[in-house]
């Protein structure tokens, strides 16, 4: 497929609550994505997400302003709870959700059969990193967009796009999964709950903080993830972002606590014909969502107006830097040497 470089990139923003949804829309999101309040989505945290009444109100609010609402149903239905997932699909269709974001083929089949007009997006949890996989989901279930795992270099994304007519959505900003999404069971190995099975990674209920003589310790189900000196900022103990000992050396053996930020890649993403840029962070506050959305709206508008003249404004980076995990940014796998 030839990339459509005249097409505008959509800004897809996270909504963990109705106030976050409204803030995202008010600050310029083209689409918001949300989840129901259970294990049918990969941000299954207490106090987060939407019941049916709030979801309905969210859809009404977005549609009134000409914006879209996507629903993440991106965990893998477990054999004993199948109806919870199919009911969520039925509800999504019923309240006028614009597209559902799915990872499980069985669930895609259900949606195709029962709601043929419901638009399907392939979730990042579907682990599709090549065009053969994406075209499989397209041929089998008619998915119209795929969200790519954060593992491909930009040249690989470009190559992939020449072989599929499925729209491509990329992560632009927010928490960085260093593992291929959908292919990581580290969390259930340590705690019994994983993104695939329960919609959580390093779940809060398994976290313990402890002040010791050696420093502040963070533990996950008793496993020491990190220990902080007095001059260090402690971060949430996501288990792949701790400091461990490998062959006598203590370091961030898997990944530093850092955020993905691809503002500088926008003209390149537009040249490739990327359909949408996704902002991670349904677990974040409305204030965070508002600030990130505002910066990205300005940046995307600037790039859409004139990609050649585009440059990242220091004020954008300063605004985003203040709210990023560990105050560090990376281009992740889009930049090959990161690998």
């Amino acid at each position: 497929m030839q990339p459509d470089t005249t097409k505008k990139m959509d800004l897809v923003c996270p909504a963990g609550s109705l106030p976050a949804l409204k803030t995202a829309i008010d600050n310029g999101a083209d689409c918001v994505y949300m989840g129901f309040r259970d294990d049918t989505n990969a941000r299954n945290f207490a106090g987060l997400n939407f019941d049916l009444t709030n979801a309905r109100e969210g859809v009404r609010y977005a549609h009134a302003k000409g914006k879209k609402v996507l629903l993440a149903l991106n965990t893998f239905p477990q054999a004993s709870g199948w109806q919870r997932w199919t009911k969520a699909i039925d509800n999504a269709a019923d309240i006028g959700i614009d597209a559902v974001i799915l990872a499980d083929p069985g669930l895609m089949q259900y949606a195709t059969k029962n709601h043929p007009n419901l638009r399907l997006h392939l979730s990042v949890q579907g682990s599709a990193t090549n065009h053969e996989a994406i075209n499989f989901y397209h041929e089998m279930f008619g998915i119209q967009r795929a969200v790519l795992p954060r593992v491909l270099a930009l040249a690989q994304v470009e190559q992939l796009m020449t072989h599929t007519k499925v729209e491509i959505e990329l992560f632009g900003f927010g928490g960085l999964c260093v593992m291929v999404e959908g292919r990581c069971s580290l969390s259930s190995y340590a705690t019994g709950e994983s993104p695939n099975t329960c919609g959580v990674c390093s779940p809060p209920k398994a976290v313990r903080w402890q002040q010791t003589a050696k420093g502040l310790e963070s533990r996950l189900n008793g496993i020491l993830i990190d220990r902080y000196g007095e001059d260090e900022n402690a971060g949430y103990p996501t288990l792949c972002k701790g400091r461990f000992d490998v062959a006598g050396e203590t370091y961030y053996a898997i990944e530093e606590p850092t955020s993905l930020n691809t503002l500088e890649l926008l003209p390149e993403l537009k040249r490739l014909g990327i359909a949408a840029i996704k902002i991670e962070g349904r677990q974040r506050s409305p204030a965070y969502v508002g600030q990130v959305t505002k910066v990205w709206r300005e940046a995307i508008d600037s790039c859409n107006r004139n990609a050649q003249a585009y440059s990242v404004k220091p004020a954008w980076m300063a605004d985003l830097g203040n709210i990023s995990e560990g105050q560090q940014h990376t281009l992740g796998a889009y930049y090959r040497p990161w690998k």
């Binding site: 893998f76 990872a103 069985g106 259900y110 090549n130 499989f136 491909l152 190559q159 496993i223 490998v246």
Partner: protein
């Protein structure tokens, strides 16, 4: 139940690989999976080499399956994938939906453990496309498996990863190269130095994970040798042993002895523990965190011995 040997997940030198498969050919294993499933940079055995290994194993009476790479990123990865799926002799284990697309409705295949089959609907769909066997995700419990199989219309064979360090995660990044401050593109093939991977410990010395290039494994060894009865009753047809640096053939023999009741589960467990690079875990099978170990078959008599 049948006994299978999974693909070698580590990077060994060429002579060690051929020698290993000569021993496998002479062993009592029923099914052997061969192929590079972890990293495309591991070049010491090429497609033709794996084919010749497969031929030898087939001549020795083994069922041979060619396994595909799990993380497919580049056009060259796809080229290798197509050579495997297009081979006309051996069955293929598809470890990515891209591989499934290439074999679906054409030839029978094995649905690999990274396809994320968590419910009967997905399994039925894959069976409809030609899957004659599937490998359960490592994090699934006995109870969930039994419920899944009860609700399936098709019944492809069920295989369970029953011994070895668990393949828990895949990444674009190489953690072995990172340990040596190298980029993946210039990794100097450091994986060759670690025939069982590189153990990651907590700062308290607890063995937690195991770095194997772009794959992250459990440091503990998943071990269901004491669970052969519950595997069978849950509906499992094939148990998989994952190769390790040393003693793999002896471990296969212990599984065989236990399956044929020449050894009790407790005896087999006691013997296998002497051959393992790290302690056992089996929590997943019991619906617990994977690193837990539940001893279902305590050694008999010790508790009631008055002396």
């Amino acid at each position: 139940m049948k006994l299978a040997l999974g693909p070698i997940l580590y990077y060994w030198d060429r002579d060690s690989m051929f020698k290993f498969y000569d021993e496998v050919a002479a062993s009592s294993v029923d099914i052997v999976y061969v192929g590079e499933t972890v990293c495309s940079r591991r070049y010491l055995l090429r497609f033709q080499d794996y084919l010749s290994v497969a031929e030898k194993l087939a001549e020795a009476g083994k069922e041979v399956v060619l396994s595909t790479q799990t993380l497919i990123e580049s056009e060259s990865d796809l080229k290798t994938l197509r050579r495997i799926t297009g081979n006309e002799k051996f069955k293929v284990e598809a470890n990515d939906m891209g591989a499934v697309r290439l074999v679906a409705n054409k030839v029978p295949f094995v649905a690999g453990l990274t396809l994320n089959v968590y419910n009967p609907q997905t399994l039925d769909m894959l069976a409809g496309l030609g899957a004659t066997r599937w490998v359960m995700p490592v994090e699934m419990s006995r109870e969930t498996l039994a419920t899944l199989l009860d609700n399936c219309q098709h019944k492809p064979e069920t295989e369970v990863f029953a011994y070895g360090r668990l393949p828990l995660a895949f990444s674009a990044r190489c953690f072995t190269a990172r340990h040596h401050n190298l980029q993946k593109d210039d990794c100097q093939f450091k994986c060759l130095d670690y025939k069982d991977g590189l153990t990651l410990k907590t700062r308290e010395g607890q063995p937690f994970l195991n770095l194997n290039g772009i794959q992250t494994q459990s440091a503990l060894v998943y071990n269901l040798i004491g669970e052969l009865d519950t595997l069978k009753s849950a509906g499992v047809d094939v148990v998989r042993v994952s190769p390790q640096g040393e003693h793999t053939i002896e471990i296969l023999q212990l599984f065989r002895d236990c399956m044929e009741q020449r050894l009790s589960p407790a005896q087999a467990l006691a013997q296998i523990e002497k051959l393992m690079p790290e302690a056992s875990c089996n929590g997943y099978w019991h619906g617990k965190p994977g690193l837990d170990f539940i001893r279902s078959n305590p050694p008999a008599a010790t508790a009631s011995n008055p002396h």
